[in-house]
């Protein structure tokens, strides 16, 4: 954590320090893994992290928008589960894939829109509203069905089994492409569009943003709608990955998404952070799981302990950085 004082980095603006630390951590983890385990230091291992976490990446992008405004969205995991459930049920009923995908995206967006509107216009804390949204979406899953529903639609299985060769024995799944597109569009919106400026302004200081005449209400509702849309997209990707719809899918994913955002250097008070950080955060979480599976003898619960420790380290670091700024 002392990299901040390394002379070569002195010229670096302080706002890039958290993201740089995350990048260094990622590189360090990869190097350590490469030294320790045979077959770890290959490009495919990194690509597999992307393949296995494409849905988390998409969800975390949406959460980043919300957190940048200083809010929080606890409903994402449930919306993901609901999406897989809706997809599986409708496909089983003989719907064709494209209308189903469109419908799922609409459902996610409308849910986010509704939560955002309640948060904004009835002034109830985001924590409580999205908590209710989380219960609602999970409850709807169980209303649809309590068992896991397999997906055997030819278009979905084809999408799930497609491999995109990158040459040299490297391959990715189409989900990775989707996730990459989502990330790129989000970066464009966040850094080159007026909406993105407004998001940062509201996260920095909502009252100032209001006094500056920025559309605070519209922007806040929009970020929750974006989060809902991203969760629904994540749900679609998860249904490709799992090829099933189940009410217990993505349990606790909201925590993973928030953890990824925090590890990526975004301040939970809002107003500071980058999407690139979130991408790195998701990679760190994915790499932890990869390392633990390579280790073999470590049990799965060590994942949670490591994530907790990482969270602690990063939050402490953020705290030091923001304290110095004063």
């Amino acid at each position: 954590m002392t990299t901040m004082t390394v002379p070569g980095l002195g010229a670096l603006p302080r706002k890039y320090v958290p993201i740089l630390v995350t990048a260094l951590l990622l590189a360090g983890m990869f190097l350590a893994g490469g030294v320790r385990y045979t077959g770890f230091a290959s490009g495919q291992v990194i690509l597999n992290v992307f393949i296995d976490n494409a849905f988390l990446l998409v969800v975390a992008v949406g959460v980043t928008f919300v957190i940048l405004t200083g809010g929080i969205d606890l409903s994402v995991g449930s919306v993901v589960a609901l999406s897989t459930m809706v997809v599986a049920t409708l496909l089983k009923d003989g719907w064709s894939p494209w209308p189903v995908m469109a419908l799922v995206l609409v459902i996610g967006t409308v849910l986010g829109l509704g939560m955002g509107a309640i948060i904004q216009y009835f002034e109830i804390q985001p924590f409580i509203v999205t908590l209710a949204g989380m219960f609602l979406a999970r409850g709807l899953c169980y209303v649809i069905g309590t068992a896991s529903i397999p997906i055997d639609d030819p278009a979905f299985t084809a999408f799930a089994q497609t491999r995109i060769d990158l040459g040299g024995d490297l391959w990715i799944s189409p989900s990775v492409v989707v996730a990459a597109v989502v990330v790129l569009v989000a970066v464009y919106v966040l850094h080159f569009r007026r909406l993105g400026r407004n998001v940062y302004a509201i996260g920095g200081n909502e009252q100032s943003a209001m006094l500056m005449g920025l559309p605070v209400a519209r922007t806040k509702v929009t970020v929750y709608a974006i989060s809902g849309f991203c969760s629904a997209s994540g749900g679609l990707l998860l249904s490709f990955y799992m090829l099933s719809g189940y009410g217990l899918h993505a349990a606790g994913m909201e925590l993973d998404a928030i953890a990824a955002v925090v590890i990526g250097g975004t301040l939970l008070t809002g107003g500071s952070g980058y999407l690139l950080g979130t991408v790195l955060g998701v990679l760190v979480l994915g790499l932890i799981q990869t390392i633990i599976s390579f280790e073999g003898t470590l049990s799965s619960w060590w994942t949670r302990i490591f994530i907790g420790l990482l969270l602690f380290a990063f939050i402490l670091m953020q705290r030091l950085i923001t304290a110095r700024r004063r």
Binding site: F122, F127, G308
Partner: protein
């Protein structure tokens, strides 16, 4: 508790902070009467009290405990997400020690195991408190660390398995009876009385409200805000620890993965339904107990009227939304257009901005 009504009458009653929660609870209970015969009857069998109402309190006891601790944390404008993990850790540690005892029925051994589990809960709570008060991390994030890592710790303690114990003294905590009452209810009453004494009779309640209202101003006024915050988080974890013992004792086993899962959300809901604002500065212990009872009654109702239990979450979402909307000043101002008597503002206070 009261919003200092100067005149009595139906309108004042309507404006009481606990009016809507009470209405909801009564409505839920009345709904039960329609579907269940003798819902309100309480009888004594073999020296034990039995009845649907007793069951609601008995099964709701861990939630009431956790919510009580959570109330004080939220009153300091904090939040504790880690209680579910503490519930799992405390139950896991106690069961692990009891399963190692030569004689699982020895009272001393069980007391020792429970003591160690509660001690660890205190340490975990103090850790949360130090992160929030001394290091200055946002409460939701500081406790998120333990929430994520704690589940791992609990599974580490149990070795990833479900530890089963067969100990009659331990069974008493969550499933036994004492003086005709279920022991869990007695524990809740004791903790409630203790909390009420600490916060009503001693200065602690005032200090908590003051820190929650404005931590910086309290510090300038000479209040040791750090000490208050650390105390409150420690107390919250202790309540969670006791709840953990109750839950694991009731089923005579410890499950690191599922014990107390999502109880933090239920507890926060109970607190909010009970009229304690998440922005802190004031709190209502009675409201919290009411909130926890509403949640438990809702669960019981769903079982008794024959709706599939999986839909509990749906109804929970509905109740939360309705209660929060009814309590939201903005909602009431926008939707429920009411005549306001001049000079009386129904809104006790409004915070400018609240980070979730």
């Amino acid at each position: 508790m009261t919003v200092s009504p100067t005149s009595s009458g139906p309108l004042t009653l309507l404006r009481h902070r606990l009016f809507w929660p009470v209405v909801i609870l009564v409505a839920l209970l009345l709904l039960n009467v329609v579907f269940t015969d003798h819902f309100f009857s309480i009888e004594v069998k073999e020296g034990h009290l039995y009845g649907s109402l007793i069951d609601i309190v008995r099964f709701g006891a861990p939630l009431i405990l956790v919510a009580l601790g959570m109330t004080l944390v939220i009153a300091t404008s904090g939040i504790d997400l880690s209680v579910g993990s503490v519930v799992a850790i405390s139950g896991a540690l106690a069961c692990l020690q009891i399963s190692d005892l030569g004689d699982q029925d020895s009272v001393g051994g069980v007391l020792g195991a429970a003591g160690v589990a509660l001690l660890l809960s205190l340490v975990l709570g103090a850790w949360n408190g130090v992160l929030v008060a001394a290091v200055g991390i946002q409460p939701i994030i500081a406790t998120l660390i333990l929430m994520v890592a704690g589940r791992g710790l609990a599974q580490l303690i149990t070795g990833g398995q479900i530890i089963t114990v067969n100990s009659s003294p331990y069974k008493l905590i969550g499933g036994g009876y004492w003086l005709t009452l279920p022991f869990g209810i007695i524990i809740v009453l004791v903790v409630l009385a203790l909390t009420a004494f600490l916060t009503r009779r001693l200065a602690l309640g005032l200090l908590i409200r003051s820190v929650g209202g404005n931590a910086e101003a309290s510090r300038l006024a000479g209040i040791g805000a750090r000490g208050v915050v650390i105390t409150v988080y420690t107390f919250c974890a202790l309540c969670a620890g006791i709840a953990g013992l109750m839950i694991s004792s009731n089923v005579s086993s410890a499950d690191g993965n599922n014990a107390g899962l999502w109880i933090e959300l239920d507890a926060i809901l109970a607190v909010v339904i009970g009229g304690t604002p998440l922005s802190g500065g004031r709190f209502s212990l009675g409201g919290t107990v009411l909130g926890a009872l509403i949640i438990q009654t809702l669960t019981t109702t769903i079982y008794s009227i024959g709706v599939p239990p999986e839909t509990t979450l749906l109804f929970k979402a509905l109740v939360v939304t309705v209660v929060c909307l009814l309590q939201s000043p903005a909602f009431r101002a926008k939707v429920v257009r009411r005549r306001r008597p001049a000079g009386v503002s129904p809104v006790a206070e409004e915070k400018v901005r609240v980070h979730a």
